[in-house]
Symmetry: C2
Subunit: 414 residues, 2 copies
């Protein structure tokens, strides 16, 4: 089946992504992607929820979008209750269920952006958002971060500078609560200052709260959307709190924006999978706090395991470690003379994958010594072995971290 009898090569469209390789399974040390902890998928509870909803509402599956194009009523009602814990007061009419928050990003991008537009992102940010914006031909400006998130003074200077050039950015994309990849939480005074700047410059805020449910300390400041629903578009996800394989996210927006999002989604697909909406609504309506409470405990332990392993294996060679306040990833910086992109291939040979800094940055050339390490999927034992393997690969390629080859080769004991 490898060779085709028909010469497709001259028929393919321009600008396609490269052909996919055949899939050969997951790497052993899998430190990328939004995967979750296998042992904490509540399979039996989801089965019970499926039983309940299918017996009650199964006939609804005979229709496309049985509760209209915004999604199942039950899950929109659950989103209303969930975002209330983020300070947001809204109704199911303000909620659109999407096929993952990735579709939320696509929809918001596409209702607002034309080729050549300018948007402001955080200097380190979600790689998927960067990829989507590049594909749309949009200019990306990275605003500086510190340990508490966006630096308002620096953002103000960027906005002033753009104003002088008569450039009106289409939005400011921010991940204020468990920032990706730095894990910071933006303090309440900065949220207010950010909104004030956005109002002054008449720029919408695009607030991504994909990880906001997974904080070590539950008392994060309210979402920016809660302060002004008219100038903020809010998205979130069930991928991180429950399962990335279910492909469920949501957008919260007022009707001016929502009517555009719904109009576009109706043209792009015929709805988001209904069984998953029904099951998640049923399960989370009863068990959200309990499940998320347990999951964040597990994630915090895995983070601690990874931090310990990095300190043991890399020592001071980790020049900076952004200790996340929640979530599933750790952002670190190695010495300047290490180019992590050159570690990708040798690490892959050892069955190890990580996100190189440039993929998660508005300024790739300045982020060659950074990397993002996800810790939700691997077991603690695999985390320890994997970080030891990473240190060995790094030492073999760069001589850093400086320890004897002997020590490098032996994975640390548990």
């Amino acid at each position: 089946m490898m060779a085709s009898g028909f010469a497709y090569a001259h028929r393919f469209a321009n600008g396609l992504p490269a052909p996919a390789p055949r899939w050969t399974g997951f790497p052993k040390y899998n430190f990328i992607g939004g995967h979750n902890d296998r042992e904490h998928v509540p399979a039996a509870e989801l089965a019970a929820a499926a039983e309940t909803v299918l017996r009650r509402d199964g006939a609804d599956l005979a229709l496309y979008n049985p509760h209209g194009p915004q999604g199942f009523r039950g899950i929109r009602e659950f989103v209303v209750a969930k975002v209330k814990t983020r300070g947001i007061t809204c109704t199911p009419d303000d909620v659109l269920i999407t096929s993952g928050s990735g579709q939320g990003l696509d929809l918001v991008n596409r209702i607002l952006l034309n080729r050549g537009d300018t948007v402001i992102l955080e200097e380190f940010t979600y790689g998927g958002a960067l990829t989507k914006l590049q594909r749309l031909g949009v200019n990306v400006i990275g605003a500086p971060l510190d340990d508490d998130g966006l630096r308002i003074d620096a953002l103000g200077r960027i906005l002033d500078d753009l104003q002088q050039k008569s450039v009106v950015p289409k939005f400011i994309y921010t991940i204020p609560t468990v920032q990706n990849p730095t894990g910071s939480i933006l303090p309440v005074d900065r949220r207010e200052a950010l909104l004030a700047l956005a109002k002054k410059h008449e720029v919408p805020i695009f607030e991504d709260e994909c990880y906001a449910d997974l904080t070590w300390n539950p008392a994060a400041p309210a979402a920016i959307y809660s302060i002004d629903s008219s100038q903020v578009i809010h998205i979130g996800s069930f991928s991180k709190t429950l399962s990335p394989a279910l492909r469920l996210g949501y957008v919260v927006a007022d009707w001016t924006v929502m009517s555009r999002l719904v109009g576009l989604k109706r043209e792009l697909d015929s709805g988001t999978g209904a069984l998953e909406q029904m099951v998640v609504a049923e399960y989370f309506s009863r068990s959200f706090e309990e499940h998320v409470g347990e999951l964040t405990g597990v994630l915090k332990e895995k983070l601690d395991t990874m931090v310990d392993a990095l300190e043991r294996e890399f020592g001071t060679a980790v020049e900076k470690m952004w200790r996340p306040k929640g979530g599933i990833f750790l952002w670190i910086k190695l010495p300047d003379r290490i180019d992590v992109t050159k570690l990708v291939a040798p690490a892959a040979n050892e069955g190890l994958v990580f996100n190189p800094g440039p993929e998660w940055s508005c300024n790739p050339a300045e982020t060659k010594s950074h990397m993002r390490l996800c810790f939700a999927l691997p077991s603690k034992e695999t985390i320890r072995e994997g970080i030891a393997t990473l240190a060995r690969v790094c030492w073999e390629q760069t001589g850093i971290p400086e320890r004897s080859a002997n020590i490098r080769r032996a994975p640390a004991a548990g």
Copy 2:
């Protein structure tokens, strides 16, 4: 929440679809869309399947694309078994699971089409396919149909004519088995002749078998893909056989094409919903033939009810009725002086919706007296009442069908 405090109007992208209206529920007489029979969603069996798969494989939901980007192994294995009944021999590596067959259309279009390209469709064809091609800026040529589907002689002339103009069409899109909207089944000799023409002119065939499982007579000719897998791309769906709300379809293609489809899908989304793939694989692996056998029996009865009602209410005013050999829709032609697009609004006022012919045609201006009526969702009683209502609206607007106003107003008894 109606008014926005922020002036988005100047910020929206160019060329967006119109804002969606607020959803107000389904019309009473719903003769559009691929909805299915509410009483024949196998809810209890799906619940049992969900229980089985979640207890067995639930931990897999912790990962994006747990069995790789082509979809869950179990459902790809089921597709392999299912398309074998259509004469196709393939492996799970030749199968891509998509978010509905609509995503299959999008992916195939996008790997092959550039703006300005030419494609050949059947003169009457799936409205969604036409909409997608219009959005891509592609030239559409409609090839004539008769009661058995594509007319090979006419298609040959179209291809010769294009060749003289040095235009190489990018594909021939055909729905050979339960054609949408005419319900015909292309005979085996025409399938072979179609492929011979495609080979002569070096044009791929894009074969859409969304409705092929729902035939009144199970012995439809084998899929065109079964004759030549290298020059044919084959798509199908679980929307019609099980549930449109589940958003599950598939593409079968050889690796030259598949690797491009997978590369593109990976860039566009993060996989298709996994729970739905798992549940459908589990249920259909045991019960496909039984379920589809029962469903087609129900659909045939509803079709007969609709045909009876049309004959009773419209008489000879239905100038032509394409009696479908399977599926969920009926394509009819009213007298030339009826423009069905002018019936849309008055019918909607009576709670009745249908697909006007121009939306399902490559030559809209020539199809103003045609309409498509879907019969899977409404009950037989609703079908009878709805067709009587349609006849009354039509008479009020056009004086056709010619019967007394009195009779027009009384819905036919069951």
